[in-house]
Subunit: 727 residues, 2 copies
């Protein structure tokens, strides 16, 4: 009889060790929290050796909160990247090759290096990174005119290592071309975020000012690393309570955390604040009591936030109050705040996003409203103009106000959050969109008057320059939910610093810093990113179409939308499809919006033949059988674009599948899952739009394309049953 | 002449290494994400040595998703705690002392250990942990009747190590005393959370079912580790869309993640779903089409979620639809769903939280409504009764429905989220509250008929038993925002498993697992936790007062609230202060609610002298000069309680200050900041209430107390200007 014990003894001995990996998961998770500031050990052994031989220490001879931040960052960065604790010294020691960090004012060593001329050539936020021989040894000098320049230089230098650049003979000179580089947070005081798709607001108002979450510092680090120097803390649809003492004190706690990182805080101000929280009976900007109220309020803010940046204002726009309520102009409205801010060095960013119900063409209205006011704004006001004349659509022509205002500081507003680009579900790298508008030539002062040059203040001599991005951050662990949405924050900051940078090069940096320096990963993924925005255009609104989305929500397709309180909130207002053709005639036979552009842009857009395909239906109502450059009819081309958009997403999936194993599983799987959603949604957009437009064109979907899997009625119903969270 | 170079050379050589700590911050941050499942290396060297000698491997002879989870957990746990990779073998190997894990059905080794008798003594979810000598070597056996029992046993065993228990001769037998141990998530489909104070819902609906966030697994692990076996995914104020196919598929993805951890998913069902999403013209539970609709719907759910738990229903309560809309009873409403669920083994949890506008005493209404229905509910319905007769107030007597329903399964609903306890700003350990109600004796069948025994089904023979806690989780990194709010999740789970456990012992476990085994920390912090709920009662609503909070928001004080759409939403309805005295007369001269309790409880509460001080004003309207047991008059006692509440918070601050350095700075500073807010709010509550009640008592605040720093008018105004986010 075999006893149980003996039987057990006979069981074949088999043991296995579970990977050590299991035990490390919690602490080493690639959860995306570190963004592009990942300082993991350099994988290339040759390069690591080289870097280690070139960097043996850090020399810092000065101190300030910003220098402290720079020191902490470079120590942390080098500790991670080179896997060695780097000594921080106050002088050159022996034969070591050091990183010498500082300003001539704060560091005798820096002052001794004869950098005066070079430093005189860059502005207060710029920096130099140079290799210098001192006493026979090579050192790397990170020098600037100010402490914040030093911090920017440190982040730039760390980026060189993160992206595996050769640092031998390094020589970098960099300065921001735009003064105010700002993230606009559309964050409400209850922490919901308008058009935010990555969780709640980062600002834990109910715990401020007492509790300063460590995340605030990491937010500031991330921004400083890409040169962002301002944050509007609250939604442009502004709750007046942000201006109460209670909230000023809370915001002051944030400002204290951000200050060493060169980031100023701004408030979105509600124009009715003097009534809503001030107890006045009017908010008329010409009323002396109102003027005095704003003065007192601003003085109070500066008492708590000495480096307060100023106000962002959405006035007389989409239901927000404004000066027009008192028959005053936007200039009169802006100036009452500007006057209060002026003594403190603060600015007003006044949004040009205004359009009245019943206007003949919404695209024309901001221009018509603000051009007559050119020269009427105080010099610490900047008009904040969206990249295009409508509203952050997947593609718009550049806004005609760029190049139209000779005497009014003009800044640009971009959207980093993907309101019309699939929220945080879709992979859409916005760099090419930013680059497209910045590179657009306004011809305001002849060829070369690009939008970038306008907002740099080089076409007209603006004394304040700025660029703002509507933030895509939230309290989700990885800040933006879609791992690739981090790239939009990154590219916005980099282009705000230098609008002439290539979005492709920035994508390259971002991939290396965020994922890996492995070329097998970089090449296909960069190509995928560079095409992703175009894919998003094609499966939604190709050939210059716009605003076909479900109203309110803005996620899915509803080109049939016709019943809304305002005509210019419907889809049919924009696409104007009929039995003849499709598109919005903005030439002389239509709204003549083209006349708002300078020549030769105006003629290019006026002329059907010279209008680029990608903007065709923005400017023209085109017959269905119109022959396109491709040889296809317009209808065929429209169908082709929609199908191509879906194909591009499927190719993105293939690309992503091909890189499995080259990065961590956590982020790999996350992106893979989201691409599945994106493919589904792209098909939804394509089928809904093609079937709907077919009801006008009465032409078939050519045989080579897969047939829509559902009827138009199905998609119309889907608009109402499909549900997506708004945050 | 001294050259600059020489000068530099003369600078005293001074270098310093920044702590290695800096470089580790990112990965080793004590951000609270791990909850109590921290498996850091045992700090006590002697104990570590002992544990290591007693555990050399793991033996598992079976496989299933749940066993896989158990294996993964014990490997991960031991890897962290003992800092050694533990081999997992399928048989005993040589001289090793192993952990032998499994069920007799799945493991020949377990089956050979003659545990049948002991295992027959515990239910399907229970487990044994025993030291056993096999072939001359000591082994630790974790055995159960089912795989989930094994997982529970593994978590229990790891807890022994985490809390530094002596495991020599270990012998544990444990089984849950309640069948359904459920977290109720009041999460909306847009991810906002009603009464949630830790960010958005954990469920990323817009990315489900495609993306299964790793956090879902950690949620399941945390729940399983404390024995929770169910999760109602959505708010009781239920969006009918949860029952659409789209959401069922999303929920199914969550169910798949949770299943190995023994957690069933439930839906809150909207009673009008047959109309709202089903296209029917009625939701009358007696209508055959409605019955059929529920049947079809339930069948569809089980197709996607084979282990679906059932429905939670809030009907005819605070505006929610219900059977009364068709003149049907709650029993008729519940049974139509129960009938559909029955074939699949699902249950209906029907909330007893109903009260009509205009009733004489809200505290009486649920009893009056449901006692006449006793016996009318199907046997897979459980009536879900809140701990007290009003609504999760800081202190209430136990609900008179406990012990009143002989033929109706009755479960308890507790609040884990701190709706009336300072949200996630205040430190309030709710263990003593849970214990107080569970230990309360209903005398339903004579002495010893405690509430715990009622819900265990031991007083009356319920065939379904349950306990639910309204969750306090959100997508904040540390799950609950206040680090100490994690303890409420923990204690709820532990008491759901065994309602007779001591809340103090559970606090001890939690502190050890979450922070440290250092007695210098444990002793004062445990004492602080144990007093914290009483502190929260005293500075808000001492002596049995209730519902003095600002309406809607429920955070700050507003005892003056008188103008509301319903009388029973005002504060004055509850406190009834007048020139004579204060308190709600629930004796014969008043609403006579006391008669809903069994004797001798009824007499105890009816009699002013025998009513405990802590419930005095709940049951009696008491004159201001009434002499209390303390020798103080009622007014003096009331004032005393409020001041004592503030003093207790200040003592909590002192305690916390005294433990600085014994734990990580990140959590230390977080708690310290929040205690500052709590102290401020406690003073706010105290001053507002004392000043307000003084307008009735017309008696002075005795000299020994600090004078309120503001007037009553100030605090009344504060109600409207003070702002707290709702999520």
């Amino acid at each position: 009889m075999i006893t149980m014990m003996a039987k057990i003894g006979k069981i074949i001995f088999f043991s296995f060790l579970l990977s050590v990996f299991l035990g490390c998961q919690v602490t080493k998770a690639e959860d995306g929290y570190r963004l592009w500031l990942r300082y993991d050990k350099i994988e290339n052994a040759t390069l690591l050796k080289e870097y280690r031989s070139e960097i043996n220490g850090i020399i810092i001879q000065q101190d300030s909160p910003t220098i402290e931040a720079a020191k902490s960052e470079i120590v942390k960065g080098l500790k991670g990247l080179l896997d060695t604790s780097m000594p921080v010294r106050s002088s050159i020691s022996g034969e070591h090759s050091s990183i010498i960090v500082g300003t001539p004012k704060g560091s005798e060593l820096i002052a001794s290096l004869n950098l005066d001329k070079k430093l005189a050539d860059i502005n207060d936020e710029g920096f130099l990174i140079e290799e210098r021989k001192i006493n026979g040894n090579n050192h790397i000098v990170i020098a600037a005119n100010s402490d914040i320049g030093v911090l920017y230089g440190v982040f730039n230098f760390l980026r060189q290592l993160q992206t595996n650049k050769d640092i031998r003979g390094i020589s970098i000179k960099s300065e921001p071309k735009i003064k105010h580089r700002i993230l606009d947070h559309w964050d409400n005081l209850d922490r919901t975020v308008e058009r935010g798709y990555a969780g709640l607001s980062l600002w834990q108002w109910s715990k401020l000012p007492e509790y300063k979450a460590p995340r605030y510092t990491d937010y500031a680090r991330a921004n400083a690393s890409i040169g962002i120097n301002g944050a509007v803390l609250n939604n442009v649809n502004a709750d007046p309570r942000i201006l109460t003492k209670q909230f000023i004190k809370k915001a002051a706690a944030l400002a204290d955390v951000f200050r060493p990182y060169g980031i100023k805080v701004y408030f979105s101000a509600n124009f009715y604040a003097p009534m809503r929280i001030g107890g006045l009976k009017t908010a008329d900007p010409l009323n002396p009591k109102v003027r005095e109220w704003w003065k007192q309020k601003v003085d109070q803010i500066y008492k708590y936030i000495p480096n307060f940046g100023g106000f962002l204002v959405k006035a007389n726009s989409e239901g927000q109050p404004g000066p027009a309520d008192y028959n005053r102009t936007h200039a009169q409205g802006a100036n009452v705040m500007a006057e209060a801010l002026k003594p403190h060095g603060g600015i007003v960013m006044w949004r040009a996003f205004v359009y009245n119900a019943g206007g003949e063409d919404r695209a024309k209205e901001a221009y018509d409203e603000f051009v007559p006011l050119d020269g009427k704004f105080d010099d610490n006001v900047i008009l904040q103009v969206k990249n295009g004349p409508i509203d952050f659509q997947p593609r718009e022509p550049f806004h005609p106000l760029f190049g139209a205002l000779k005497k009014t500081n003009t800044m640009m507003e971009l959207q980093v959050t993907q309101e019309y680009f699939g929220f945080s579900n879709h992979l859409t790298y916005l760099g090419p969109l930013y680059q497209e508008v910045l590179d657009s030539d306004t011809y305001a002062k002849g060829k070369g008057s690009t939008v970038a040059k306008v907002i740099e203040g080089k076409v007209y001599d603006y004394n304040q320059t700025g660029i703002a991005g509507v933030a895509n951050t939230g309290n989700d662990r990885n800040w933006t939910n879609h791992p690739f949405a981090q790239a939009n924050w990154f590219v916005f900051g980099r282009m705000a610093w230098n609008p002439t940078l290539s979005s492709e090069n920035i994508a390259d940096d971002w991939i290396r810093m965020t994922f890996t320096n492995n070329e097998k990963f970089i090449k296909p993924v960069k190509a995928m990113m560079m095409k992703s925005r175009e894919a998003g255009v094609k499966y939604r609104e190709p050939l210059g179409l716009a605003h076909l989305c479900i109203q309110g929500q803005h996620y899915g397709p509803a080109p049939w939308t016709v019943d809304m309180p305002r005509r210019d909130w419907t889809a049919v207002y924009y696409h104007r499809a009929d039995s003849v053709g499709i598109g919005f005639d903005r030439t002389k036979t239509g709204s003549n919006a083209v006349e708002q552009y300078h020549e030769p842009v105006q003629s290019e857009f006026r002329n059907l033949k010279s209008t680029p395909d990608k903007l065709l239906l923005w400017f023209h109502h085109v017959p269905w059988d119109y022959k396109m450059n491709s040889g296809r009819t317009l209808w065929q081309q429209l169908v082709h674009e929609y199908y191509e958009g879906v194909d591009m997403v499927r190719n993105m999936q293939k690309t992503w599948n091909s890189v499995e194993g080259l990065i961590d599983q956590e982020r790999y799987q996350h992106v893979k899952s989201l691409l599945k959603i994106q493919e589904h949604d792209a098909v939804w957009w394509r089928n809904a739009c093609v079937l709907y437009f077919q009801t006008f064109s009465k032409r078939p979907i050519p045989d080579q394309y897969e047939k829509p899997s559902h009827t138009l009625e199905y998609y119309k119903k889907l608009e109402h049953t499909k549900y997506y969270e708004h945050n």
